[in-house]
Amino acid sequence: MTDLTELSANELIKLTALQMAERLRAGEITSVQLTQAHLDRIAAVDGPADGQGTGVHAFLHVNTEEALAVAAEVDAIRAAGGTAAQDLHPLAGVPIAVKDLIVTIGQPTTAASKMLEGWMSPYDATVVEKIRAAKLPILGKTNLDEFAMGSSTEHSAFGDTRNPWDLDRTPGGSGGGSAAAVAAYMAPLALGTDTGGSIRQPGAVTGTVGAKPTYGAVSRYGVIAMASSLDQVGPVTRTVSDAAALQELISGHDPKDSTSLPEPMDGLLEAARNGELAGLRIGIIAELEGEGFQEGVLARFQESVQVLKDAGAEVSEVSCPHLGYALGAYYLIMPSEVSSNLAKFDGVRFGNRVVPEGGGTIEQVMGATRAAGFGDEVKRRIILGTYALSAGYYDAYYGSAQKVRTLIQRDFAAAFEQVDVLISPTSPVTAFPLGEKLDDPVAMYNNDIATIPANLAGIPGISVPAGLSEGLPVGIQFLAPARGDATMYRAAAALESRLEEAWGTPFWAQAPDLAAVSEAAPAGVGNAPATATAGGEN
Protein backbone atom coordinates (compact mmCIF):
# COMPACT_ATOMS: atom_id res chain seq x y z
CA MET A 1 0.00 0.00 0.00
CA THR A 2 1.19 3.42 -0.88
CA ASP A 3 1.48 5.66 2.10
CA LEU A 4 -0.52 8.82 1.75
CA THR A 5 2.57 10.92 2.11
CA GLU A 6 3.91 9.25 -1.03
CA LEU A 7 0.94 10.39 -3.11
CA SER A 8 1.18 13.91 -4.40
CA ALA A 9 -1.97 15.95 -4.76
CA ASN A 10 -1.54 15.59 -8.50
CA GLU A 11 -1.66 11.81 -8.23
CA LEU A 12 -4.47 11.85 -5.73
CA ILE A 13 -6.85 13.60 -8.11
CA LYS A 14 -6.11 11.07 -10.84
CA LEU A 15 -7.40 8.11 -8.85
CA THR A 16 -10.84 6.85 -9.71
CA ALA A 17 -13.64 7.76 -7.31
CA LEU A 18 -13.81 4.18 -6.02
CA GLN A 19 -10.04 4.16 -5.43
CA MET A 20 -10.39 7.42 -3.52
CA ALA A 21 -13.19 5.93 -1.47
CA GLU A 22 -11.11 2.88 -0.68
CA ARG A 23 -8.15 4.96 0.50
CA LEU A 24 -10.45 7.12 2.61
CA ARG A 25 -11.90 4.03 4.26
CA ALA A 26 -8.44 2.62 4.84
CA GLY A 27 -7.44 5.87 6.50
CA GLU A 28 -4.59 6.44 4.03
CA ILE A 29 -5.90 9.83 3.05
CA THR A 30 -8.36 12.26 4.52
CA SER A 31 -11.32 13.80 2.81
CA VAL A 32 -9.97 17.25 3.59
CA GLN A 33 -6.75 16.41 1.71
CA LEU A 34 -8.70 14.99 -1.17
CA THR A 35 -11.15 17.88 -1.32
CA GLN A 36 -8.40 20.46 -0.99
CA ALA A 37 -6.47 18.76 -3.81
CA HIS A 38 -9.47 19.14 -6.09
CA LEU A 39 -10.09 22.73 -5.01
CA ASP A 40 -6.43 23.47 -5.77
CA ARG A 41 -6.77 21.84 -9.17
CA ILE A 42 -9.85 23.97 -9.89
CA ALA A 43 -7.94 27.07 -8.84
CA ALA A 44 -5.08 26.06 -11.09
CA VAL A 45 -6.78 25.13 -14.33
CA ASP A 46 -10.35 26.43 -14.34
CA GLY A 47 -9.80 30.17 -14.37
CA PRO A 48 -12.29 32.66 -12.94
CA ALA A 49 -15.92 31.60 -12.59
CA ASP A 50 -17.06 34.58 -14.67
CA GLY A 51 -15.58 32.92 -17.75
CA GLN A 52 -13.28 35.83 -18.50
CA GLY A 53 -10.11 33.80 -18.11
CA THR A 54 -8.35 31.32 -20.36
CA GLY A 55 -8.94 28.22 -18.25
CA VAL A 56 -11.38 25.35 -18.76
CA HIS A 57 -14.17 27.27 -17.04
CA ALA A 58 -16.07 24.20 -15.94
CA PHE A 59 -17.38 25.86 -12.76
CA LEU A 60 -19.81 28.74 -12.33
CA HIS A 61 -19.47 28.61 -8.56
CA VAL A 62 -16.87 26.98 -6.33
CA ASN A 63 -18.12 25.91 -2.95
CA THR A 64 -14.83 25.92 -1.05
CA GLU A 65 -15.91 26.48 2.53
CA GLU A 66 -18.83 24.11 2.65
CA ALA A 67 -16.96 21.37 0.75
CA LEU A 68 -14.10 21.49 3.24
CA ALA A 69 -16.51 21.53 6.17
CA VAL A 70 -18.25 18.39 4.91
CA ALA A 71 -14.85 16.78 4.30
CA ALA A 72 -13.76 17.61 7.85
CA GLU A 73 -17.00 16.15 9.19
CA VAL A 74 -16.40 12.87 7.34
CA ASP A 75 -12.83 12.76 8.61
CA ALA A 76 -14.01 13.36 12.18
CA ILE A 77 -16.62 10.61 11.99
CA ARG A 78 -14.12 8.21 10.54
CA ALA A 79 -11.52 9.13 13.13
CA ALA A 80 -14.00 8.58 15.96
CA GLY A 81 -14.78 5.09 14.65
CA GLY A 82 -17.71 3.06 15.92
CA THR A 83 -21.05 2.58 14.24
CA ALA A 84 -21.19 6.14 12.89
CA ALA A 85 -18.02 5.45 10.94
CA GLN A 86 -19.30 2.08 9.80
CA ASP A 87 -22.58 3.62 8.67
CA LEU A 88 -20.85 6.11 6.40
CA HIS A 89 -21.77 5.74 2.74
CA PRO A 90 -18.98 3.99 0.79
CA LEU A 91 -18.44 7.18 -1.23
CA ALA A 92 -18.49 9.49 1.82
CA GLY A 93 -15.75 12.07 1.57
CA VAL A 94 -15.25 11.74 -2.20
CA PRO A 95 -15.92 15.18 -3.69
CA ILE A 96 -18.46 15.78 -6.42
CA ALA A 97 -19.47 18.58 -8.78
CA VAL A 98 -23.10 19.40 -9.56
CA LYS A 99 -24.50 20.72 -12.82
CA ASP A 100 -25.90 24.17 -12.22
CA LEU A 101 -29.34 23.08 -13.37
CA ILE A 102 -29.83 21.30 -10.03
CA VAL A 103 -30.97 23.44 -7.11
CA THR A 104 -28.90 23.68 -3.95
CA ILE A 105 -29.46 25.48 -0.67
CA GLY A 106 -26.58 27.80 0.14
CA GLN A 107 -25.08 27.93 -3.35
CA PRO A 108 -26.44 29.93 -6.26
CA THR A 109 -28.33 28.07 -8.97
CA THR A 110 -28.41 29.86 -12.32
CA ALA A 111 -29.12 27.30 -15.07
CA ALA A 112 -26.44 29.40 -16.82
CA SER A 113 -29.09 32.02 -17.46
CA LYS A 114 -29.11 35.73 -16.71
CA MET A 115 -32.71 35.13 -15.68
CA LEU A 116 -31.55 33.40 -12.50
CA GLU A 117 -28.27 35.20 -11.84
CA GLY A 118 -28.01 35.56 -8.07
CA TRP A 119 -30.96 33.31 -7.27
CA MET A 120 -30.67 31.16 -4.17
CA SER A 121 -32.97 28.19 -3.83
CA PRO A 122 -34.76 27.75 -0.50
CA TYR A 123 -34.76 24.00 -1.05
CA ASP A 124 -32.45 21.18 -2.16
CA ALA A 125 -33.04 18.89 -5.11
CA THR A 126 -33.67 15.30 -4.02
CA VAL A 127 -30.39 14.19 -5.60
CA VAL A 128 -28.60 16.89 -3.62
CA GLU A 129 -30.29 15.70 -0.42
CA LYS A 130 -28.97 12.22 -1.18
CA ILE A 131 -25.46 13.53 -1.79
CA ARG A 132 -25.56 15.52 1.43
CA ALA A 133 -26.87 12.52 3.35
CA ALA A 134 -24.01 10.40 1.98
CA LYS A 135 -21.61 13.23 2.88
CA LEU A 136 -19.92 13.83 -0.44
CA PRO A 137 -18.34 17.30 -0.37
CA ILE A 138 -19.92 19.40 -3.15
CA LEU A 139 -17.12 21.23 -4.94
CA GLY A 140 -19.38 23.60 -6.79
CA LYS A 141 -21.81 24.11 -9.65
CA THR A 142 -20.80 23.40 -13.22
CA ASN A 143 -21.42 25.29 -16.44
CA LEU A 144 -23.97 24.30 -19.06
CA ASP A 145 -25.84 25.59 -22.05
CA GLU A 146 -28.52 27.96 -20.75
CA PHE A 147 -31.34 25.83 -19.25
CA ALA A 148 -29.50 22.81 -20.73
CA MET A 149 -30.35 23.82 -24.29
CA GLY A 150 -27.39 23.15 -26.52
CA SER A 151 -24.69 20.71 -27.47
CA SER A 152 -21.58 22.79 -26.86
CA THR A 153 -21.98 24.76 -23.60
CA GLU A 154 -21.53 27.87 -25.75
CA HIS A 155 -25.10 28.91 -24.95
CA SER A 156 -24.16 29.60 -21.33
CA ALA A 157 -24.85 33.21 -20.34
CA PHE A 158 -21.64 33.12 -18.31
CA GLY A 159 -19.02 32.16 -20.89
CA ASP A 160 -17.96 29.01 -22.74
CA THR A 161 -16.49 25.93 -21.16
CA ARG A 162 -13.44 24.65 -23.01
CA ASN A 163 -12.58 21.07 -23.77
CA PRO A 164 -9.58 19.95 -21.65
CA TRP A 165 -8.32 17.93 -24.64
CA ASP A 166 -8.13 21.06 -26.76
CA LEU A 167 -9.00 24.39 -25.20
CA ASP A 168 -10.09 25.78 -28.56
CA ARG A 169 -12.83 23.19 -28.82
CA THR A 170 -16.16 22.74 -27.10
CA PRO A 171 -16.69 20.13 -24.39
CA GLY A 172 -20.06 19.24 -25.86
CA GLY A 173 -23.27 20.09 -24.12
CA SER A 174 -25.35 20.84 -22.41
CA GLY A 175 -23.33 19.32 -19.57
CA GLY A 176 -19.96 20.52 -20.82
CA GLY A 177 -19.05 21.85 -17.40
CA SER A 178 -19.52 18.56 -15.58
CA ALA A 179 -17.75 16.60 -18.31
CA ALA A 180 -14.82 19.02 -18.50
CA ALA A 181 -14.50 19.10 -14.70
CA VAL A 182 -14.19 15.32 -14.59
CA ALA A 183 -11.95 15.14 -17.67
CA ALA A 184 -9.58 17.76 -16.22
CA TYR A 185 -9.36 16.06 -12.79
CA MET A 186 -11.19 18.91 -11.09
CA ALA A 187 -13.72 16.40 -9.79
CA PRO A 188 -13.83 12.61 -9.78
CA LEU A 189 -17.62 12.60 -9.89
CA ALA A 190 -20.19 14.96 -11.30
CA LEU A 191 -23.92 15.09 -11.80
CA GLY A 192 -25.32 15.81 -15.21
CA THR A 193 -28.76 15.92 -16.76
CA ASP A 194 -29.64 14.35 -20.08
CA THR A 195 -32.67 15.43 -22.12
CA GLY A 196 -31.36 14.55 -25.58
CA GLY A 197 -27.79 13.53 -24.86
CA SER A 198 -26.53 16.24 -22.50
CA ILE A 199 -24.62 13.72 -20.38
CA ARG A 200 -23.53 11.25 -23.06
CA GLN A 201 -22.46 13.59 -25.86
CA PRO A 202 -20.18 15.70 -23.62
CA GLY A 203 -18.92 12.41 -22.19
CA ALA A 204 -17.99 11.26 -25.69
CA VAL A 205 -16.15 14.42 -26.71
CA THR A 206 -14.31 14.86 -23.38
CA GLY A 207 -13.34 11.19 -23.01
CA THR A 208 -15.41 10.68 -19.88
CA VAL A 209 -18.10 8.19 -18.93
CA GLY A 210 -21.62 9.57 -18.86
CA ALA A 211 -24.79 7.62 -18.19
CA LYS A 212 -28.43 8.47 -18.62
CA PRO A 213 -30.39 6.09 -16.38
CA THR A 214 -33.80 4.68 -17.24
CA TYR A 215 -36.34 7.51 -17.16
CA GLY A 216 -37.60 7.71 -13.58
CA ALA A 217 -34.67 5.90 -11.97
CA VAL A 218 -33.38 9.17 -10.52
CA SER A 219 -35.63 11.86 -9.06
CA ARG A 220 -36.10 15.01 -11.10
CA TYR A 221 -37.33 17.00 -8.08
CA GLY A 222 -35.20 20.12 -7.86
CA VAL A 223 -33.79 19.72 -11.34
CA ILE A 224 -34.83 22.79 -13.33
CA ALA A 225 -37.06 21.25 -15.94
CA MET A 226 -36.18 21.52 -19.59
CA ALA A 227 -38.43 18.85 -21.12
CA SER A 228 -40.13 16.91 -18.35
CA SER A 229 -40.83 13.71 -20.26
CA LEU A 230 -37.21 13.48 -21.45
CA ASP A 231 -35.06 14.86 -18.61
CA GLN A 232 -33.06 12.48 -16.48
CA VAL A 233 -30.22 13.01 -13.99
CA GLY A 234 -27.15 10.82 -14.30
CA PRO A 235 -23.50 10.34 -13.37
CA VAL A 236 -20.45 11.81 -15.09
CA THR A 237 -17.21 10.00 -14.15
CA ARG A 238 -13.96 8.66 -15.54
CA THR A 239 -14.84 4.96 -15.21
CA VAL A 240 -17.93 2.83 -15.69
CA SER A 241 -17.72 1.48 -12.13
CA ASP A 242 -17.62 5.00 -10.72
CA ALA A 243 -20.71 5.83 -12.78
CA ALA A 244 -22.51 2.73 -11.52
CA ALA A 245 -21.64 3.57 -7.92
CA LEU A 246 -22.86 7.15 -8.31
CA GLN A 247 -26.10 6.09 -9.99
CA GLU A 248 -26.77 3.73 -7.09
CA LEU A 249 -26.28 6.62 -4.70
CA ILE A 250 -28.66 9.03 -6.46
CA SER A 251 -31.37 6.67 -7.67
CA GLY A 252 -34.44 5.39 -5.86
CA HIS A 253 -38.10 6.23 -5.60
CA ASP A 254 -38.95 9.82 -4.68
CA PRO A 255 -42.51 10.58 -3.58
CA LYS A 256 -41.97 14.17 -4.76
CA ASP A 257 -41.57 13.04 -8.38
CA SER A 258 -44.69 11.37 -9.80
CA THR A 259 -42.67 9.88 -12.65
CA SER A 260 -40.16 8.29 -10.29
CA LEU A 261 -39.94 4.50 -10.63
CA PRO A 262 -41.48 2.77 -7.61
CA GLU A 263 -38.86 0.02 -7.42
CA PRO A 264 -35.22 0.46 -6.37
CA MET A 265 -32.40 -0.05 -8.83
CA ASP A 266 -29.61 -1.94 -7.12
CA GLY A 267 -26.77 -4.13 -8.27
CA LEU A 268 -25.34 -1.64 -10.75
CA LEU A 269 -21.84 -1.57 -9.30
CA GLU A 270 -21.87 -5.33 -9.00
CA ALA A 271 -22.83 -5.58 -12.67
CA ALA A 272 -20.06 -3.17 -13.67
CA ARG A 273 -17.53 -5.24 -11.69
CA ASN A 274 -18.79 -8.42 -13.30
CA GLY A 275 -17.86 -7.24 -16.80
CA GLU A 276 -18.57 -10.66 -18.32
CA LEU A 277 -19.28 -10.60 -22.04
CA ALA A 278 -19.61 -14.26 -23.00
CA GLY A 279 -23.07 -14.93 -24.34
CA LEU A 280 -24.12 -11.28 -24.21
CA ARG A 281 -26.10 -10.42 -27.34
CA ILE A 282 -25.13 -7.03 -28.72
CA GLY A 283 -26.94 -5.28 -31.57
CA ILE A 284 -25.39 -2.68 -33.82
CA ILE A 285 -28.04 -0.12 -34.75
CA ALA A 286 -27.89 -0.09 -38.54
CA GLU A 287 -29.36 3.41 -38.74
CA LEU A 288 -26.61 4.89 -36.53
CA GLU A 289 -23.34 3.99 -38.20
CA GLY A 290 -23.22 5.53 -41.65
CA GLU A 291 -24.02 8.90 -43.09
CA GLY A 292 -23.09 11.94 -41.06
CA PHE A 293 -20.61 10.11 -38.84
CA GLN A 294 -16.94 11.11 -39.03
CA GLU A 295 -14.58 8.51 -40.43
CA GLY A 296 -12.43 8.46 -37.30
CA VAL A 297 -15.52 8.02 -35.14
CA LEU A 298 -16.67 5.05 -37.23
CA ALA A 299 -13.16 3.55 -37.16
CA ARG A 300 -13.02 3.61 -33.32
CA PHE A 301 -16.56 2.26 -33.21
CA GLN A 302 -15.71 -0.69 -35.45
CA GLU A 303 -12.60 -1.46 -33.41
CA SER A 304 -14.74 -1.57 -30.30
CA VAL A 305 -17.18 -3.90 -31.98
CA GLN A 306 -14.28 -6.21 -32.83
CA VAL A 307 -13.04 -6.10 -29.25
CA LEU A 308 -16.52 -7.07 -28.02
CA LYS A 309 -16.71 -9.94 -30.48
CA ASP A 310 -13.28 -11.16 -29.50
CA ALA A 311 -14.34 -11.15 -25.88
CA GLY A 312 -17.20 -13.51 -26.58
CA ALA A 313 -20.17 -11.26 -27.25
CA GLU A 314 -22.64 -12.27 -29.95
CA VAL A 315 -22.77 -9.23 -32.19
CA SER A 316 -25.40 -8.74 -34.85
CA GLU A 317 -26.93 -5.87 -36.75
CA VAL A 318 -30.46 -4.75 -35.92
CA SER A 319 -32.68 -2.18 -37.54
CA CYS A 320 -34.69 0.53 -35.84
CA PRO A 321 -36.39 1.91 -38.93
CA HIS A 322 -38.01 4.93 -37.30
CA LEU A 323 -34.85 6.41 -35.79
CA GLY A 324 -34.66 8.70 -38.81
CA TYR A 325 -37.68 10.50 -37.40
CA ALA A 326 -36.34 10.76 -33.85
CA LEU A 327 -34.67 14.13 -34.30
CA GLY A 328 -37.85 15.61 -35.75
CA ALA A 329 -40.02 14.20 -32.98
CA TYR A 330 -37.55 15.42 -30.39
CA TYR A 331 -37.48 18.95 -31.79
CA LEU A 332 -41.27 19.10 -31.48
CA ILE A 333 -41.78 17.43 -28.09
CA MET A 334 -38.81 19.04 -26.35
CA PRO A 335 -39.56 22.67 -27.32
CA SER A 336 -43.25 22.18 -26.57
CA GLU A 337 -42.45 21.14 -23.01
CA VAL A 338 -39.77 23.84 -22.82
CA SER A 339 -42.24 26.56 -23.81
CA SER A 340 -44.48 25.59 -20.91
CA ASN A 341 -41.79 24.73 -18.34
CA LEU A 342 -40.02 28.04 -18.83
CA ALA A 343 -43.20 30.13 -18.59
CA LYS A 344 -42.64 30.48 -14.84
CA PHE A 345 -39.57 32.66 -15.46
CA ASP A 346 -41.49 35.93 -15.57
CA GLY A 347 -39.90 38.18 -12.94
CA VAL A 348 -42.82 37.93 -10.51
CA ARG A 349 -41.79 35.50 -7.77
CA PHE A 350 -38.02 35.08 -8.21
CA GLY A 351 -35.27 35.94 -10.64
CA ASN A 352 -34.38 39.18 -12.30
CA ARG A 353 -37.15 41.57 -13.31
CA VAL A 354 -36.57 43.96 -16.17
CA VAL A 355 -38.82 47.02 -16.28
CA PRO A 356 -39.05 48.78 -19.66
CA GLU A 357 -38.05 52.43 -19.76
CA GLY A 358 -40.80 54.53 -18.26
CA GLY A 359 -42.35 51.56 -16.46
CA GLY A 360 -45.10 49.40 -17.87
CA THR A 361 -47.84 46.93 -17.19
CA ILE A 362 -47.08 43.48 -15.88
CA GLU A 363 -47.46 42.16 -19.44
CA GLN A 364 -44.78 44.56 -20.65
CA VAL A 365 -42.55 43.79 -17.68
CA MET A 366 -42.84 40.05 -18.32
CA GLY A 367 -42.07 40.61 -22.01
CA ALA A 368 -39.01 42.70 -21.22
CA THR A 369 -37.85 40.36 -18.46
CA ARG A 370 -38.00 37.33 -20.72
CA ALA A 371 -36.46 39.22 -23.65
CA ALA A 372 -33.47 40.23 -21.54
CA GLY A 373 -33.23 37.11 -19.38
CA PHE A 374 -33.25 34.43 -22.07
CA GLY A 375 -30.58 33.85 -24.69
CA ASP A 376 -31.27 33.24 -28.37
CA GLU A 377 -31.34 29.45 -28.24
CA VAL A 378 -33.82 29.45 -25.36
CA LYS A 379 -36.04 31.93 -27.17
CA ARG A 380 -35.84 29.88 -30.35
CA ARG A 381 -37.05 26.78 -28.56
CA ILE A 382 -39.81 28.59 -26.66
CA ILE A 383 -41.17 30.06 -29.89
CA LEU A 384 -40.85 26.72 -31.67
CA GLY A 385 -42.72 24.96 -28.85
CA THR A 386 -45.38 27.64 -28.69
CA TYR A 387 -45.90 27.08 -32.40
CA ALA A 388 -46.00 23.28 -32.15
CA LEU A 389 -48.66 23.41 -29.42
CA SER A 390 -50.80 26.16 -30.87
CA ALA A 391 -54.33 25.49 -31.99
CA GLY A 392 -54.42 24.28 -35.56
CA TYR A 393 -50.92 22.79 -35.48
CA TYR A 394 -51.15 20.56 -32.44
CA ASP A 395 -52.18 17.39 -34.25
CA ALA A 396 -49.75 17.83 -37.13
CA TYR A 397 -46.78 18.59 -34.92
CA TYR A 398 -47.00 17.66 -31.25
CA GLY A 399 -49.52 14.90 -31.85
CA SER A 400 -47.48 13.38 -34.68
CA ALA A 401 -44.30 13.60 -32.63
CA GLN A 402 -45.93 11.63 -29.83
CA LYS A 403 -46.87 8.96 -32.36
CA VAL A 404 -43.30 8.81 -33.61
CA ARG A 405 -42.33 8.32 -29.99
CA THR A 406 -44.54 5.24 -29.93
CA LEU A 407 -42.95 3.95 -33.14
CA ILE A 408 -39.46 4.40 -31.75
CA GLN A 409 -40.41 2.61 -28.55
CA ARG A 410 -41.74 -0.26 -30.67
CA ASP A 411 -38.51 -0.33 -32.69
CA PHE A 412 -36.49 -0.64 -29.51
CA ALA A 413 -38.85 -3.23 -28.04
CA ALA A 414 -38.45 -5.34 -31.18
CA ALA A 415 -34.67 -4.92 -31.13
CA PHE A 416 -34.45 -5.94 -27.49
CA GLU A 417 -36.27 -9.18 -28.33
CA GLN A 418 -33.20 -10.07 -30.36
CA VAL A 419 -30.35 -8.57 -28.33
CA ASP A 420 -29.52 -7.58 -24.77
CA VAL A 421 -27.90 -4.23 -25.52
CA LEU A 422 -27.59 -1.95 -28.51
CA ILE A 423 -24.49 -0.01 -29.52
CA SER A 424 -23.69 2.98 -31.68
CA PRO A 425 -21.22 5.83 -31.71
CA THR A 426 -22.34 8.35 -29.09
CA SER A 427 -21.73 11.45 -31.16
CA PRO A 428 -21.29 11.61 -34.92
CA VAL A 429 -18.31 13.92 -34.52
CA THR A 430 -15.47 14.59 -32.12
CA ALA A 431 -15.16 17.87 -30.24
CA PHE A 432 -15.69 20.71 -32.68
CA PRO A 433 -14.05 24.13 -32.53
CA LEU A 434 -15.70 26.82 -30.43
CA GLY A 435 -18.00 28.94 -32.55
CA GLU A 436 -18.16 26.50 -35.46
CA LYS A 437 -21.85 25.59 -35.20
CA LEU A 438 -23.12 28.47 -33.12
CA ASP A 439 -24.96 30.12 -36.01
CA ASP A 440 -26.36 26.93 -37.48
CA PRO A 441 -28.96 25.50 -35.10
CA VAL A 442 -29.76 22.49 -37.27
CA ALA A 443 -26.09 21.47 -37.50
CA MET A 444 -25.90 21.82 -33.71
CA TYR A 445 -29.03 19.69 -33.27
CA ASN A 446 -27.53 16.92 -35.40
CA ASN A 447 -24.90 16.28 -32.72
CA ASP A 448 -27.56 14.48 -30.72
CA ILE A 449 -28.84 12.21 -33.46
CA ALA A 450 -27.61 9.05 -31.73
CA THR A 451 -28.47 10.03 -28.17
CA ILE A 452 -32.00 11.41 -28.62
CA PRO A 453 -33.77 8.09 -29.29
CA ALA A 454 -33.02 6.82 -25.76
CA ASN A 455 -34.68 9.90 -24.25
CA LEU A 456 -37.76 9.50 -26.41
CA ALA A 457 -38.04 5.84 -25.40
CA GLY A 458 -37.04 6.30 -21.73
CA ILE A 459 -34.33 3.63 -21.97
CA PRO A 460 -30.89 3.88 -20.32
CA GLY A 461 -27.78 4.82 -22.26
CA ILE A 462 -24.11 5.26 -21.44
CA SER A 463 -21.15 6.66 -23.31
CA VAL A 464 -17.74 5.07 -22.81
CA PRO A 465 -14.43 6.32 -24.28
CA ALA A 466 -13.46 4.22 -27.31
CA GLY A 467 -10.13 5.81 -28.20
CA LEU A 468 -8.95 8.88 -30.06
CA SER A 469 -9.46 10.28 -33.51
CA GLU A 470 -6.88 12.90 -34.48
CA GLY A 471 -6.09 13.33 -30.79
CA LEU A 472 -9.70 13.82 -29.75
CA PRO A 473 -11.86 11.37 -27.76
CA VAL A 474 -14.49 9.21 -29.39
CA GLY A 475 -17.34 7.70 -27.40
CA ILE A 476 -19.30 4.53 -27.88
CA GLN A 477 -22.89 4.32 -26.64
CA PHE A 478 -24.59 1.31 -25.05
CA LEU A 479 -28.39 1.24 -24.81
CA ALA A 480 -30.41 -1.24 -22.76
CA PRO A 481 -34.12 -1.88 -22.24
CA ALA A 482 -35.96 0.23 -19.67
CA ARG A 483 -34.89 -0.84 -16.15
CA GLY A 484 -31.97 -2.75 -17.75
CA ASP A 485 -29.36 -0.34 -16.38
CA ALA A 486 -27.39 -3.18 -14.80
CA THR A 487 -26.97 -4.91 -18.16
CA MET A 488 -25.87 -1.62 -19.67
CA TYR A 489 -23.20 -1.13 -16.98
CA ARG A 490 -22.01 -4.70 -17.33
CA ALA A 491 -21.53 -4.39 -21.10
CA ALA A 492 -19.94 -0.95 -20.88
CA ALA A 493 -17.51 -2.05 -18.16
CA ALA A 494 -16.57 -5.09 -20.18
CA LEU A 495 -15.62 -2.99 -23.18
CA GLU A 496 -13.81 -0.49 -20.97
CA SER A 497 -11.61 -3.17 -19.41
CA ARG A 498 -10.85 -4.90 -22.75
CA LEU A 499 -9.89 -1.55 -24.33
CA GLU A 500 -7.73 -0.69 -21.34
CA GLU A 501 -5.96 -4.02 -21.76
CA ALA A 502 -5.45 -3.34 -25.46
CA TRP A 503 -4.10 0.17 -24.83
CA GLY A 504 -2.05 -0.92 -21.87
CA THR A 505 -3.30 2.11 -19.93
CA PRO A 506 -6.58 3.60 -18.77
CA PHE A 507 -8.10 5.87 -21.36
CA TRP A 508 -8.17 8.90 -19.11
CA ALA A 509 -4.44 8.65 -18.48
CA GLN A 510 -3.93 9.60 -22.14
CA ALA A 511 -5.35 13.08 -21.53
CA PRO A 512 -3.01 15.97 -22.26
CA ASP A 513 -1.70 18.00 -19.39
CA LEU A 514 -3.24 21.33 -18.67
CA ALA A 515 -1.03 24.25 -17.85
CA ALA A 516 -2.07 26.29 -14.87
CA VAL A 517 -3.95 29.37 -15.94
CA SER A 518 -3.30 31.40 -12.89
CA GLU A 519 -0.04 32.64 -11.44
CA ALA A 520 -1.72 32.44 -8.10
CA ALA A 521 -2.16 28.70 -8.28
CA PRO A 522 -0.87 26.95 -5.17
CA ALA A 523 2.70 25.79 -5.49
CA GLY A 524 3.25 22.21 -6.56
CA VAL A 525 -0.13 21.80 -8.18
CA GLY A 526 -1.01 22.26 -11.79
CA ASN A 527 2.20 23.93 -12.86
CA ALA A 528 4.03 20.69 -12.93
CA PRO A 529 3.31 18.54 -15.96
CA ALA A 530 1.14 15.60 -15.10
CA THR A 531 2.64 12.17 -15.49
CA ALA A 532 1.67 10.11 -18.50
CA THR A 533 0.17 7.28 -16.55
CA ALA A 534 -1.94 7.32 -13.46
CA GLY A 535 -0.29 6.25 -10.29
CA GLY A 536 3.17 7.00 -11.63
CA GLU A 537 5.81 8.67 -9.52
CA ASN A 538 6.03 12.40 -9.69
Binding site: G328, F350, R353, R380, I383, L384, Y387, Y397, K403, L407
Partner: protein, 98 residues
Protein backbone atom coordinates in the same frame (compact mmCIF):
# COMPACT_ATOMS: atom_id res chain seq x y z
CA UNK B 1 -46.58 22.17 -43.96
CA UNK B 2 -47.14 25.86 -43.81
CA UNK B 3 -44.10 28.08 -43.50
CA UNK B 4 -43.64 30.17 -40.37
CA UNK B 5 -44.10 33.80 -41.31
CA UNK B 6 -42.78 36.86 -39.58
CA UNK B 7 -46.34 37.63 -38.45
CA UNK B 8 -46.60 34.12 -37.00
CA UNK B 9 -43.46 34.71 -34.97
CA UNK B 10 -44.74 38.07 -33.75
CA UNK B 11 -47.94 36.36 -32.60
CA UNK B 12 -46.04 33.49 -30.97
CA UNK B 13 -43.72 35.92 -29.20
CA UNK B 14 -46.77 37.71 -27.77
CA UNK B 15 -48.23 34.39 -26.59
CA UNK B 16 -44.87 33.49 -25.04
CA UNK B 17 -44.44 36.94 -23.49
CA UNK B 18 -41.07 37.60 -25.08
CA UNK B 19 -40.60 41.09 -26.43
CA UNK B 20 -38.91 41.01 -29.85
CA UNK B 21 -37.76 43.84 -32.05
CA UNK B 22 -38.02 43.89 -35.85
CA UNK B 23 -34.57 42.40 -36.38
CA UNK B 24 -35.22 39.54 -34.02
CA UNK B 25 -38.53 38.76 -35.71
CA UNK B 26 -36.83 38.59 -39.09
CA UNK B 27 -33.99 36.43 -37.83
CA UNK B 28 -36.23 34.12 -35.83
CA UNK B 29 -38.72 33.52 -38.61
CA UNK B 30 -35.90 32.54 -40.96
CA UNK B 31 -34.39 30.13 -38.45
CA UNK B 32 -37.69 28.59 -37.48
CA UNK B 33 -38.68 28.01 -41.09
CA UNK B 34 -35.38 26.23 -41.60
CA UNK B 35 -35.81 24.12 -38.46
CA UNK B 36 -39.37 23.22 -39.35
CA UNK B 37 -38.25 22.07 -42.79
CA UNK B 38 -35.76 19.78 -41.10
CA UNK B 39 -38.28 18.19 -38.78
CA UNK B 40 -41.60 18.34 -40.61
CA UNK B 41 -41.22 14.74 -41.78
CA UNK B 42 -42.70 13.44 -38.51
CA UNK B 43 -46.24 13.92 -39.74
CA UNK B 44 -45.57 11.68 -42.74
CA UNK B 45 -44.91 8.60 -40.67
CA UNK B 46 -47.45 9.05 -37.88
CA UNK B 47 -50.47 7.09 -39.03
CA UNK B 48 -53.99 7.30 -37.65
CA UNK B 49 -53.71 3.96 -35.90
CA UNK B 50 -50.58 4.80 -33.92
CA UNK B 51 -51.30 5.74 -30.29
CA UNK B 52 -49.57 8.72 -28.75
CA UNK B 53 -46.92 8.32 -26.07
CA UNK B 54 -46.71 11.16 -23.55
CA UNK B 55 -44.80 9.31 -20.85
CA UNK B 56 -41.79 7.18 -21.74
CA UNK B 57 -42.33 4.79 -18.84
CA UNK B 58 -45.99 3.98 -18.19
CA UNK B 59 -46.89 4.47 -14.53
CA UNK B 60 -50.36 5.06 -13.10
CA UNK B 61 -52.15 6.22 -9.96
CA UNK B 62 -49.29 7.99 -8.25
CA UNK B 63 -50.90 9.81 -5.34
CA UNK B 64 -49.75 11.79 -2.35
CA UNK B 65 -51.12 11.36 1.14
CA UNK B 66 -53.20 14.35 2.25
CA UNK B 67 -50.77 15.48 4.97
CA UNK B 68 -49.27 18.98 5.20
CA UNK B 69 -45.48 19.26 5.07
CA UNK B 70 -42.62 21.23 3.61
CA UNK B 71 -44.05 24.74 4.04
CA UNK B 72 -41.91 27.80 3.50
CA UNK B 73 -42.09 30.74 5.89
CA UNK B 74 -43.36 34.01 4.47
CA UNK B 75 -39.82 35.32 4.72
CA UNK B 76 -38.46 32.38 2.70
CA UNK B 77 -41.25 32.73 0.16
CA UNK B 78 -40.49 36.39 -0.44
CA UNK B 79 -36.70 36.22 -0.05
CA UNK B 80 -36.00 36.08 -3.78
CA UNK B 81 -38.95 38.20 -4.94
CA UNK B 82 -38.05 41.07 -7.27
CA UNK B 83 -40.54 43.23 -5.34
CA UNK B 84 -42.68 42.62 -2.28
CA UNK B 85 -44.94 44.52 0.13
CA UNK B 86 -47.04 43.54 3.15
CA UNK B 87 -46.04 39.90 2.95
CA UNK B 88 -47.04 39.67 -0.69
CA UNK B 89 -45.42 39.70 -4.09
CA UNK B 90 -45.77 43.06 -5.77
CA UNK B 91 -46.33 43.40 -9.50
CA UNK B 92 -46.93 46.38 -11.75
CA UNK B 93 -50.40 47.20 -13.05
CA UNK B 94 -51.97 44.15 -14.62
CA UNK B 95 -53.90 45.90 -17.36
CA UNK B 96 -53.41 49.13 -19.25
CA UNK B 97 -56.01 51.66 -18.15
CA UNK B 98 -58.71 50.43 -20.47
Amino acid sequence: MSAITREDVAHLARLAHIRMDENELDKMSGELAFIMDAIASVSEVAGQDVPRTSHPIPLRNVFREDMPSGMLTQEQALAMAPDAEDGQFKVPAILDGE
